[in-house]
Each structure stands twice: as C-alpha cells, then as structure tokens.
C-alpha cells in the first residue's frame, strides 16, 4: 500500500528497531537464523506496525495502541507459582528464560534457545502472511521457549502446564509442539504477571497434531493491567485428530491472541472456546482463521465476551472451506454481554466457502443482561449486583463446563469468580 513511502516511525517502532540493533550481539542463533531475523526486522521497519487500514488489524490499530515498549530488564525477577491443576507437570519460562526440566514421561523437551543456536529454528522464523506483525516482532527478538514432542501413543494422565511468568521488560518465546499419532494430552499455556511494571510478551505456538491425537490446549492469560500481550497459535490437524482450544483472557492492557489453523487430514475435528473477561482499559482482540482444506472435517467455535468499564473487545473469525472440502461442517458463535456504555465490542465473523456440500453458519449477538432474567432473580430476594454476577457467571460458565474434568474446571471457575467480583 504505502510501502514505497518511508514511514515516520512511532515511539514504539523506534524502540523496537533500536532494541534490535542493541541486542543483535546477544540474540541466540547465527547464520540462517540471523538472516531470518534480519528479514523480519527489515519488514517491520519498512511497514511499521499495522494500522486499521490493514484489514486483519482493522479493529486493533497496533500502531496507535502500542504506544510504548518497555525496555528489556535483565534484573527483573520472577518465580514459579503453583500449577493451576494439582499434579500437573510444569515447564516454566520465567521472564523469558525457559527451564526444560520437569517434562513427564513420553514427552521430549528442549529449550528453543538450543534450536536457535543450532539453526533448526531458522525454518520457523518466517511470516505467515504480509500482515503478520506478531510473527515479525516475535521472530526478530525470540530468545527462548520450548521445542516439545509428545511421542506417538503417549497418553498424559495429568495436564502439562507451560507456565510463563513475567515481572517486567520483554519476553519473546516460541513453542513448536508436535503431538504424535494417537497421543492424548491436555496442555495449559498460562500467562501470569507478578508485578505492576509494564511488560511486552509475545509468543508463537506452532502445533502439529498428528493422526488420531486428542489434544486439549488451554490458554489462560492473566497478565497485568499495564501489560501488552501478542500471541499466536498456529495448528495443523491430521486425520481423525481432534484439538480443543480454550482461550481465556482475564487481564492485559493490549492483548491480541491469534489462532490460525488448517485441517489437513480427513475426519478431524476442531473446537475453539473463548472467554474474554474485559474490564478497565483493556483492548483485547481474538482473531481466528481456520481453513477446512480437506473433505469431512468439522469445527465449532463459541466465544463469550463480557465487557465492563472502558474495555474494548474484538473478535474476528474466519472459516474458509477449500474447493474440494466437501461435507465440511463448521459453526461459529460469538456472544457478547456489553455491560457498560463506555465499553465497545466489534465482531467480524467471516465465511469463505468454495465447496457446495457443506453446512456452515455463524451467529453473533451483542446484548446487555436480559431484564426479565434479572427480574426473576430479584423477585426471589437476590440483590441486584449478586443477581447480575450470577447471570454473567452462568453466561461464561457454560464454556468452562465443556472441559469436563472437574480438577480443571474448579480452578478456572475460581479465577472467573474472583475476576467478576473485582469488576462487576
């Protein structure tokens, strides 16, 4: 678009570009990795951060929203916390430094830093498309993360928690994960903030779900009110594989969670469930694209949003059905409770269909709490604020219940309840 004209860089853009020059000597990886980084940064420099003129960033003007970027803070200190679910195996990344110890049997882990150093990572450091600002920032600065392989046939009894704790500064991490054929696992990707200092965290997870694997991946984002969080999950689903992806956003100042997937094996099933609890001044964007590339695949997406205060929420969801992907069944719903006049929510559910023998649909609603529901509860002596909280809770709890495992549901419900108490 404006590629020929040199852009005037914003403060955040300048910090990013300068930081690259400053850090270049210490970023892990040489040769191909380094040149991949250079290419990504050159693109970032050339195009700047995306504005609303870029269609996929229409509702999240990153250039305007990312006003400042905190400098890397080598003195920042962060500590492990207890896992969300008792008995989980924990792999932690504290302020961007990954500790590959603690993997359960059947799971091979090494730090992504090693992949960067030995050059294996070079192939990962590419842009998804011309609008991939997250891939660009992350790829330029990535220092660590995990390379994980859940071996064929492995069935994990307990969840595997990827615990990402940030206290200040910046962290850029990558997680290439392969789930071997017929493996079963639940992974909890948990983002925590342990201080009020602003931070910038970017993550890219590349998931390969092989034939017949059954995977549940939960993203629980609880960053601080001053934090920016740019995350991307890419996945590829093999034949008869199933992936359930739960995204729970309950924090952060500027949050963009992208999910991009393709089904490459027949009979695969994908589920996206999202809960966005948005309060304060947050701007939270969940952007999702799914390509049904082969016949006989199914997907459902249900996103529930609750907005208080001056929060801004965005959901963009695109389902593509390739020309030969007959018998695709895809359904998407985005429901929003807009509870404040100062909050706003934008939804863009998209269908792009090139095959005829399909069932595809989407629905989107935006509404306040139903007054008759409220009346029903109040008529039974429940005070208004409590009644409202009950109704909001019921609205999002439906999603949590789908996890079915009580040990996971309980702590998530507790987090939601605490959040609602604070904001309602």
């Amino acid at each position: 678009m404006n590629m020929q004209t040199a852009i005037t860089m914003t403060a955040a853009e300048t910090v990013l570009v300068d930081a690259y020059t400053a850090q270049i000597g210490e970023l892990p990886g040489e040769g191909a990795v380094l040149s991949a980084r250079d290419t990504l940064l050159a693109d970032l420099k050339k195009q700047g951060l995306p504005t609303r003129r870029v269609e996929s960033w229409h509702y999240t003007d990153l250039r305007a929203l990312l006003r400042s970027v905190p400098a890397a803070d080598p003195t920042a200190f962060a500590q492990r916390v207890d896992p969300l679910v008792d008995g989980s195996s924990v792999l932690s990344v504290l302020n961007g430094k990954a500790d590959p110890k603690g993997a359960p049997a059947g799971v091979n882990v090494r730090s992504y830093r090693e992949s960067l150093i030995d050059g294996v990572a070079a192939a990962d450091l590419v842009e998804r498309d011309a609008d991939d600002a997250i891939g660009r920032i992350n790829g330029s600065f990535v220092r660590d993360g995990f390379e994980i392989e859940v071996t064929e046939g492995t069935e994990l009894e307990q969840p595997l928690e990827l615990q990402l704790v940030q206290s200040a500064g910046q962290s850029h991490m990558r997680f290439p994960v392969t789930f071997g054929a017929n493996s079963k696992a639940m992974v909890i990707e948990r983002h925590l903030s342990v201080s009020d200092a602003p931070s910038l965290v970017t993550t890219v997870c590349d998931l390969i779900v092989d034939d017949g694997a059954e995977i549940t991946w939960i993203i629980l984002q609880q960053q601080g009110e001053a934090d920016s969080h740019l995350a991307q999950v890419n996945f590829d689903l093999g034949a008869n594989a199933s992936l359930r992806l739960f995204v729970i956003n309950a924090g952060g100042k500027l949050v963009r969670q992208e999910v991009h997937g393709v089904t490459t094996g027949e009979g695969s099933d994908f589920k996206l469930r999202g809960i966005n609890l948005l309060g304060g001044e947050t701007h939270t964007d969940v952007t999702f694209t799914l390509g049904h590339d082969v016949p006989n695949t199914t997907s459902t997406e249900v996103i529930r949003n609750v907005l208080f205060d001056r929060a801004k929420g965005v959901f963009q969801g695109q389902i593509r059905v390739a020309p030969d992907a007959q018998k695709t069944d895809a359904k998407m719903a985005c429901n929003t409770l807009l509870l404040s006049d100062d909050a706003d929510f934008s939804a863009k559910p998209e269908l792009e269909i090139f095959a005829d023998d399909v069932q595809c649909g989407h629905g989107a609603t935006v509404i306040d709490i139903n007054p008759t529901h409220l009346y029903y509860l109040r008529a039974r002596g429940i005070p208004e604020n409590k009644a409202r909280a009950m109704l909001v809770n019921a609205f999002v709890d439906e999603i949590v219940e789908e996890l079915e495992v009580e040990a996971v549901i309980e702590p998530l419900e507790a987090i939601i309840a605490i959040w609602l108490e604070k904001h309602a």
Binding site: F345, S346, I353, H362, G363
Partner: protein, 489 residues
C-alpha cells in the same frame, strides 16, 4: 446423490450467453469524445445547460477524484479499468426534449416494448385495476419521457430527471445533493459526482403520500459508454414514496462501467421504499463482457421516526459492488435491507449493506439471500454499528447462502460494532446447498427435479420477494428463473 449430480449437470448446461435482453438498438447517438478531463466535464455540463454552481461542483469532485485510488478491498477481480477508453457522455440525438410520447423515437419505444415496460400511458390506464406506475425512462443517460407528470404535479410531487431538476428546482437540488453521499465519499461516487449525466429526482412534500409507485428503467446502450446515474429522492415530513428501479442492458463484448449514486433523504415520519431489479448483461459463458456495476446507494433517515427500506434483486452484471445503506440519524428511525443476489456463470457479486445507528431507539433489519451457481463468487459484506449515544439500537441480520454446484463460492463478511450497552444486535449466517431432504420430499410426491429445485429456491428467497411491490415481485421471480435456467424451472 443422484439429484445432486443432476443439479450440477443442469447448472453446467446453463448458457449464460442466451441473455434474453441482449439486443442492440441502432439509434444515432450524441457522444462526447472518449476519456475524462476537465473539458469533458465542461462539455457535459454545457450540454445540459447547467448553472455555474453545478459545473463547479463537478470540477471540484473531478479534482478530488484525481487524488483517489481505486478501491481493491472487495472480493472481485477484473482487469484494471482504463478510464480513458470510456465515453462519459452519450445521449440519443433525437431529443430536443420530447413533449409527448408520440415524439419519442419509435426505435426506443420498441426496445421498451421488448422489455415489457408499460411506458405508454394508455397501456397503464387500460389496466384500471392494477396499480398505476409513473415511468421516468432513462435511455443511456438522458430521460426520454416522463409520464404522469401532471397527476403527480397535482399531488405536489416533483418527479423529473435530475438535469431538469437542476434547472427548474436548483434550490432543492442544492440543498440536498451530496448531503448523503458527499463528493468525497469514495472513488466511484466521486467519479459519479464529476461526470453524472442523468438520473431521477423525486421530491415528495410534507404530508403527501405519493399517489403511485414511481419507476425508472435504466438501460445502457451505446457501445463503451459508462453510465453515471445520479438519483436523489427526498421525502419531507410524513411523506411516503415507493420508488422502483429496473435495469436491463443489451449484450456487449467489452465490459461496461456503471457507477451510479443514489441518495435518499427521509425527514420526520417520512418513509421511502426503494426497490431494484437489476438484470444487466452478466457476460457470456466464458466470462467475457458484462457490466461492471459499482454503485453507491445510501439513505439518510434524517428525521424522527423516519424509515428507509431497500429491496434489491440482483441477477445481472459481471461484477456487482453495491452496498445500499441507511444512516439512522433521527430518533426512532428504521432501516431495512432485503436482498436477493443470484450469481451464475462468471459473475462476481460483492454486495451488502451498512446500518449506522446514530439516533436513539433506532432499529434495522437485514435479510440477505445469496444464490451462487456456475463458477461465480457471491459475497455478502455488511456493517452494523452503533454510536456511543445511540441508546436502544436494535439490529437483526440474517444472511443465507445457497450453493448450486461445487465450482462457485459464497462468502459472508459482516462487521458488527457495538458501542452502547443498550444495543441489541443479532446476526446469523448460514451456507449450505439445497437440502437433500427437501428435494427428496418433493420428488417423492412426483414433482420433477427441476420444478422441485425451483420450488425450494423460491421458498429460500420468499422472505425478500414479499418485500417487493407486486409488479416487481413477478418480474423478480422471472429473472431468478432466467438466471438459474437449467437448474430452476
């Protein structure tokens, strides 16, 4: 599966080449040289005896247009338009302004006859019991004849060509022209503002219920002429008007550009109903030729409790890029959009609506039915938004797509933007093919496949057809039939 195969076979047989209205009339034309420049705009303005302010308005738009870039966001593909290869003005030569229907070139009348337009007053009057229609027929940019002028005059309704209105009612035109679609609006609207050649002007004064349906038939005729219509409809307080627009164009080899602008203004308690049946030449079966239809249509519900309703049946054009919208400015105003978009052959449609809720207690309703066949691409693109102050905004949107054949595409791109907690938005979209169950049910009762598909498709679009005025509903159903010939009865 047999029935599905049959459907596909039948769709494959559809010969979009056999465009029913693809004839060409040989009438002497008065043309400006090809291309666009200030001189051409001065020429157009002079040809139409326009006042200076109008010329300035055009030139300003032209200067603006030169700075704009052609939009590329729509899901349509076409070779770049060479604006220097287009005739921006073409008028039938025989018109020093016909005074009665007998003065009109019989060639032109024959064209309308073939189209079945009830142009002759006596024909209309003969059908005493059927509702009467006033026709302002547009034949390549210039209004040829206007009927029923007298009766409308009695009611106080002004219905004339826009060029006439610029001369006769400059104050009204000046007051409203460009207030809904400003000259700076978008690439094609700006182009239209610079070069528009004709169109209709309707003014319904306070408290008047327009005594008849107003109707215009657009027709693009001369080779290589872009047609730039400008329509302006104003309904004053408590007025009501129903306007019908129908289009057919003859077969052409090269692509023709059509960039119209339609502006509607509804004041307090006024209601405007705007219906379109568009059946321009869609190109041949290899995707050659056909009309480029890049239209900006927008209604402004300016007054309290005003209502604007768009109904469209889009079956023609090679490329359609059209978003009839409503700005719900007045408190309690209401916007409606009902659409059937049928694409076949190599047609590409990117159409939808915008409902912008600005006033309090505003409501809108969108029902869009897309039917894609052949190798066509059919996109619904729509926006529903509320302003922060727009309390109790209410929207219901339903977009359904039906796919016939596995080479076509149906897409839905809605933008839903809520800025107020009292907003209540519902949106749903579905895409599927003709249900096997429904087909089976019909076949089992001895209904042949073709008739069964016709029945199902008609059921699919019924909700929208019902919104059309009677006369149009019949034509629309016929057009859908022609468009899907082979698969639909």
């Amino acid at each position: 599966m047999a029935a599905v195969q049959e459907t596909i076979d039948q769709v494959a047989l559809i010969d979009v080449d056999q465009y029913k209205y693809g004839f060409e009339t040989k009438i002497e034309m008065d043309k400006a040289p090809k291309g666009l420049s200030e001189e051409i705009i001065r020429f157009i303005s002079a040809k139409k005896n326009e006042p200076d302010w109008m010329l300035e308005w055009r030139l300003e738009a032209y200067q603006r247009w030169l700075t704009l870039e052609e939009p590329t966001w729509a899901r349509v593909n076409y070779p770049k338009i060479d604006f220097n290869e287009i005739y921006f003005y073409a008028a039938p030569k025989s018109t020093p302004g016909p005074t009665s229907i007998d003065d009109v070139d019989p060639e032109i009348l024959k064209v309308y006859e073939k189209l079945g337009i009830p142009l002759r007053e006596q024909e209309i009057l003969a059908g005493v019991k059927t509702p009467r229609i006033a026709v302002d027929a547009v034949f390549d940019s210039v209004s040829v004849v206007t009927t029923f002028k007298e009766e409308l005059k009695k009611a106080g309704v002004i219905f004339m060509s826009i060029s006439e209105a610029i001369r006769e009612h400059p104050d009204l035109v000046k007051k409203y022209l460009g207030t809904v679609v400003p000259t700076t609006d978008n690439y094609y609207a700006t182009l239209n503002s610079a070069v528009f050649t004709d169109g209709s002007f309707v003014f319904v004064p306070k408290g008047v219920r327009c005594p008849m349906e107003l109707s215009t038939y657009f027709r693009i005729n001369e080779k290589g002429t872009g047609q730039f219509e400008r329509t302006l409809i104003i309904a004053e307080d408590s007025a009501y008007v129903s306007y019908l627009e129908g289009c057919t164009a003859p077969q052409r080899d090269e692509n023709q550009l059509h960039a119209a602008v339609v502006e509607l203004v509804a004041l307090d308690d006024a209601e405007i109903k705007y219906s379109t049946v568009q059946n321009w030449y869609p190109g041949d079966k290899n995707g050659k030729g056909g009309i480029y239809n890049f239209v900006t249509k927008r209604g402004d519900c300016r007054g309290k409790n005003s209502k604007i309703s768009w109904t469209q049946v889009e079956t023609g054009s090679a490329i359609t890029w059209k978003y009839p919208s409503c700005i719900l400015r007045g408190d309690g105003s209401r916007g409606e959009f009902y659409s059937i978009a049928v694409s076949n052959g190599h047609q590409q449609i990117d159409s939808g609506t915008k409902m912008i809720h600005l006033g309090k207690n505003t409501s809108s309703r969108i029902v869009s039915k897309g039917i894609a066949a052949g190798v066509s691409q059919n996109t619904y693109r729509g926006q529903v938004s509320t302003h922060r102050k727009a309390e109790n905004a209410r929207n219901f949107t339903q977009c359904d797509s039906l796919l016939i054949g596995d080479k076509c595409g149906a897409h839905t791109v809605p933008y839903i933007e809520a800025r107020n907690s009292s907003a209540q938005f519902e949106h749903e979209a579905t895409t599927s093919k003709i249900s096997e169950d429904q087909l089976f049910y019909c076949l089992q009762r001895g209904i042949p496949t073709e008739a069964a598909i016709a029945l199902i498709v008609n059921g699919f679009v019924k909700e929208v057809i019902q919104e059309l005025p009677m006369e149009f509903a019949v034509e629309a159903q016929k057009l859908i039939g022609i468009s899907l010939e082979g698969s639909v009865g």
